[in-house]
């Protein structure tokens, strides 16, 4: 049953949920070849912040440098990407009125993969992979949207179909590039598509964090509206909602977020589907709660998955493989447990 406790129980629960990614982040920063206990991590982070604010050149230890140069940007990136994908999934599921929709439904992943493949294949300047991945990710959504539009209406069925078409087109084009490039570049493309946080750096973060946070804030502010949009177009219109305009706003914000995330991390599956489901099953369907909690749990899940990806073996596992291996059984478990109820 959906948890509807009194507000006295809910506040501590939500407090914990929102602190979770930070707690996991600090513990995760200690995990790796060089083990660092959480209190050292915290001390080190304060030292770095202090240095940055007061320009005082307090001496940095090896621990500080490992944290600052490698682990922190990577953990923050994982958190931000997980948060974007989970929120995007939750938003799109509502506006498509289908709990099985994932962030890539409008072809954003295929577009981004094509952009990345193009940049790798042509061997363009550094940063071009991210740039083209972002660019073609947005192009694919734009194409799908304009294809779906008939008059002033943008029916959901059209959108799904257009997404399938655009995805197929860009996947074919990506295959074409894979076919022509040399094996070394081919490996690069394949690795990019499997997703990784190894490109994490402060400069990358500085590029994607502000727009993603802005989108997140706007989506959270409008989250109640998603409840109305998850009704049929007719009902939403009868309730005074300009359905096509509001749906467009949500589509723009959520796909922009995802395009930013995907451009740095590559394509990471399952998070956008799994996290909103878990949230709905445990906290109910009201999007005023689903959106912020998805953001928090998406970030936590991704940081944990990346911990395993980078430290479980002597080599790095592709993150998308891990999210699926972790996510699929979890999802299965949830479905089995709820099998007797209609839970979708």
């Amino acid at each position: 049953m959906i948890a509807h406790k009194t507000i006295f129980i809910r506040i501590p629960v939500f407090g914990f949920v929102f602190l979770l990614p930070f707690i996991i982040g600090i513990i995760s920063a200690g995990i790796g070849y060089l083990r660092i206990p959480p209190e050292e991590v915290a001390k080190s982070v304060f030292k770095l912040i202090h240095n940055a604010i007061s320009y005082s050149g307090e001496e940095l230890t090896v621990t500080d440098i490992v944290l600052f140069q490698i682990r922190l940007p990577r953990i923050i990136l994982a958190g931000i990407v997980g948060c974007s994908l989970a929120v995007c999934g939750a938003v799109l599921q509502s506006i498509f009125r289908n709990p099985l929709v994932e962030p890539y439904i409008l072809g954003i992943s295929s577009g981004a993969a094509f952009g990345a493949a193009l940049a790798i294949g042509l061997g363009l300047f550094s940063g071009s992979v991210q740039l083209l991945a972002f660019f073609f990710g947005m192009i694919s959504v734009f194409l799908a949207y304009s294809m779906a539009k008939s008059g002033s209406e943008v029916p959901v069925v059209n959108l799904v179909l257009a997404g399938v078409i655009v995805s197929a087109l860009f996947t074919a084009l990506t295959s074409l590039i894979k076919f022509f490039v040399d094996p070394h570049q081919l490996a690069g493309i394949v690795y990019w598509i499997m997703g990784s946080f190894s490109h994490a750096s402060w400069s990358n973060l500085a590029l994607i964090t502000p727009p993603i946070l802005l989108c997140l804030i706007l989506i959270t502010a409008m989250s109640w509206r998603l409840n109305v949009l998850s009704l049929s177009d007719e009902e939403a219109k009868a309730l005074g909602v300009n359905v096509n305009r509001e749906r467009f706003v949500f589509l723009c914000l959520s796909t922009f977020m995802t395009a930013c995330a995907v451009s740095i991390s590559g394509i990471i599956g399952w998070v956008g589907l799994l996290i909103p489901h878990i949230v709905r099953l445990s906290f109910g369907s009201d999007n005023r709660i689903v959106i912020p909690v998805s953001a928090s749990l998406g970030a936590s899940f991704m940081i944990l998955a990346d911990d395993i990806a980078r430290s479980a073996f002597s080599f790095e596992l592709p993150i998308s493989v891990l999210t699926t291996i972790l996510g699929a059984p979890a999802f299965m478990f949830l479905v089995r447990r709820r099998a007797r109820r209609v839970w979708l």
């Binding site: 709990p99 409008m222 509206r225 109305v228 007719e234 219109k237 009868a238 309730l239 369907s285």
Partner: protein, 257 residues
Amino acid sequence: MALRVEGLRFSYGKRLILDGAELELREEEILTLLGPNGCGKTTLLKCINRILKPEDGAVFIDGRNYFDMSEREIAMSLGYVPQEHRPPFPYTVLDFVLLGRSPHLGMFSHPSEKDKRIAMESLKTVGIEKLAKRAYTELSGGERQLVLIARALATNAKILLLDEPTSHLDFRNSHRILSLIRRIVREKRLSAIITLHDPNLACMYSDRIAIVSRGRIIRIGKPDEVMDERILMEVYGINVRILRVDGFNYIFAEVSE
């Protein structure tokens, strides 16, 4: 007069559905649209609150042309009750009724305590405040229909539009829901347009009946004045007999095969 419909025309592609429908809804009355499948009564209802945009004609709400009104203003004047169905997400009943407040709220606002109170009152009016915390998707068809009525009441609209409120209900629930609608309309001094399939239900619960045929209103008036065998035969294309028992008209179909 609460609402006036003037010369509405609407077509899906090349198929003309509404061909100049005209009617007037008086204050505090229940007007039923009656007619066979495909006659255009549901389309007419959807054109009345501009879910569908008519190609020609207009609707006047309290004397104002609704093309001069925003979607939100229309939603505040006309509470729409769609046919009962199961949505994909299991919102609680209270959250679902709260959606009726959306015409009063901007894109960035969340419902306040006052909105919540109005939603609870609407639930009380239809008598299901006990279900407030239940998941909407787990209710029976009759209960879901009540929730939809509560949601329309939560908009504070003075006019209700109900699209076949009895379509998924059994004999008992059909009568319960229609008498509830009648009670609410009387108590809150609202007006309502209802589409119905069953001529007997229409006779029992409406102040006036409008018979819809091929996209036009061919007759409108009190049940006694409107219902006669000849016109029902013409509209439905079968033999119809009307029996008068204890002051009530009972309408029978005479099926030959």
